[in-house]
Amino acid sequence: MENTVKQIVEKYNTNRNRLMDMLIDIQEAEGYISRNAIATLSQLLDMSQADVEQTLSFYHFFSSKPRGKYVVYLNNSPVAYMFGREAIKEAFEKSAGIKFGEVTSDGRIGLFDTSCIGMNDQEPAAIINNMVFTRLTPYRVRELVKMMKEDKPIEELRKESFGDGKNYLPSLRSMVSSNIRRKGMILSDDYHYGTVIREKLPAMSPESVIGEIKHSSIRGRGGAGFPTGLKWEFCRRAKGEKHYVVCNADEGEPGTFKDRVILTEKPELVFEGMALAGYAIGGEEGILYIRYEYRYMKDYLEEVLHKMRKEGLLGTNISGIEGFNFDIRIQFGAGAYVCGEESALLESLEGKRGEPRDKPPFPVEKGYLGCPTIINNVETFATAVRIVQNGGEWFTQFGTDDSTGTKILSISGDCMFPGVYEVNWGFNVEDMLDMVGAYDVQAVQVGGPSGTLIGPDEFHRTLGYSDLSTGGSMIIFGKQRNLLRDVVVNFMEFFIEESCGSCSTCRNMTQVMNTKLKKILAGKGVAKDLKDLQEWGRVLNASRCGLGQTAANPIISSLKNFRPLYEALLQKDKDFDEGFDLEKSVQASCNFVGRVPVFNHH
């Protein structure tokens, strides 16, 4: 073990900032990160053990106990439940003989829940030893467990054919499907990567690149919608030893999977966009921060980078431009939704807990290692290439005035054709539902749990930054679904699980509100509870990051748009009921100290 750790630490030049990579490598080599490994790591890196443990304990895919030779992570998003997760879970538990959260006594199989793994269009899905298994059935689960018991190598467990698109490639060999249903400028096949770097950049100054981006009025595709051109300009102007380009591929918002598809089908476009951004801001290093759930793409993405280096699209004096040096490395996360928040992502990149930073300063001034950094979504980088190719003016013809260009949507749930759709901004929800074959729709979750839940009265609304803003996730719920029980509670538990714990508002309020929601669902609610939920939701605005500020949205937005669902569950004859029972709550302590409870009933 000690040697393994030593080699791993050396592989990353004993650089503390690469602690994430080291922990990932140890976890993969040993199946867990032992006390000894922590001790060795902290000694070699000259860090305290507590600091190593801080990082370790923050991420879902790290474990200080063995998790089994075969580790099953079963997605628990609402869509997984809608497509039969309960039966899958039961099949796993029954055939492996353990409950979720446990490892078999022989250390062979471990079963764990995990937040959305970005496969909402092919649920139920699970990750087993970094390989994704989609569209599971109980039969398939029994077969899988049987093969695990026979000690079959993981590759042999896969019986399905490869998914569509590039998933058949030797470096991917994945059963994941890309499910591209509609193409636009990003997913289109008529752009050959490298064209902009080879043909456009030599004649353009960095300022004119930023000029085109600004002129296009493109706004960040991750969801927050900050103007990309401005971000690049701020970063270019900011003083620092180095400038960094970071691509945020940590799409953790349940129901989002378009970055997976872009990175599978058009990774070159994303990397070209990063290089382009590097040229624009004067940075030489790019980092793709990608969620661990997409670990199966590692070899493939490395291969693409290698190919692009060989073709001269990455490296030194790219495209003959003196001093245009740029290269990209891939950094994997380890299972934390909050790392999609840009400053948390930076912390994670530096090998620390993914806790959001206080702002200002913003990353464009002080980002990765304290240097000016731009962080953009996968889709934003890909789009930037097409903007520079065709000019900012060309780009503005797509979409609407305040939301230019196209948006790639991840659509899942109760519809005939779930998958990825690239549409012009300004598309309305009704048209979207027609397009994906969704009928008898009760509600649509726009923008994931942190977004809005809307009902049929609002299906005329359009997708855009000024109306329904979305990072791309659209989940459709049919009439047969119980919105509160199956969706809202699930989303609240997602936020409870994924809160980094830094702000008490997000750490506690989500719990408190979920408890109240469950009380209402249990028929114990009163009218005031609804008012409380509404008002307490505002407390979350005090949180430091976007996750915390939106963590009550599942309740707030369903309460706003589906109030009758709540009202139907309330007790009509009472105006206060918290179900507190004094006699019951003193029982345990009185028993323990040996006294008979006396109540002074007035």
Binding site: A542, S543, Q587, A588, F592
Partner: protein
């Protein structure tokens, strides 16, 4: 019109919120012009002597006495305000909520490293003592609470603004800086 009457109490709290009330400094002179205090540690009145308009509750609810006091506040006050983290969410005392009460008592009176003199393992079981609850409850889980003032403690200005708003009936201004986490 007679002055509005205010009562305050500290349940399972540290009196920090009361210190924060005193932290309004010289405005306390204005405050006693504006309101009259009834049951409160500030003036040491022990029991309610008249109907009260505003009750400020510091601290969560950890024992049967807290329940009784809180219920008497609800009965005697028109408006109840949860003041600070402990009243609103249980706060520090609620750290015990994840641990069974038996374990807490054992640690405190029998097994803890600082327990030296309790050789016979005597437990506090006199009927005069309040009975411990299974966990620490936020006030709103026992009685109806009308308003919540967050903070640990809520800053003096926030308490002042809230009291003035309640007394004058003017809406309270809550700019982002006041409620931002850090």
């Amino acid at each position: 019109m007679s002055k509005p009457v205010v009562a305050t109490t500290s349940l399972a709290g540290c009196f920090g919120c009361h210190m924060s009330i005193l932290d309004i400094d010289e405005r306390i002179l204005t405050l006693i012009e504006l309101v009259e205090f009834n049951k409160s540690p500030v003036d040491d009145i022990k029991t309610f002597t008249k109907p009260v308009d505003i009750g400020l509750i510091e601290g969560g609810v950890c024992n049967s006495e807290n329940v009784e006091v809180l219920k008497s506040f609800r009965k005697n006050c028109k408006i109840l305000v949860s003041l600070g983290e402990c009243a609103i969410m249980g706060g520090l005392p609620a750290l015990r909520n994840g641990i069974p009460i038996e374990e807490c008592l054992h640690e405190a009176y029998i097994g803890g490293p600082t327990v030296q003199l309790n050789k016979d393992g005597i437990m506090p079981n006199d009927d005069e003592l309040p009975m411990l609850l299974d966990k620490v409850y936020p006030c709103h889980e026992i009685v109806k609470i009308d308003y919540f003032l967050p903070g640990c403690p809520p800053r003096a200005d926030l308490i002042w603004d809230a009291l003035v708003a309640l007394v004058t009936g003017d809406p309270m201004k809550l700019p982002y800086e006041v409620v931002k986490f850090d």
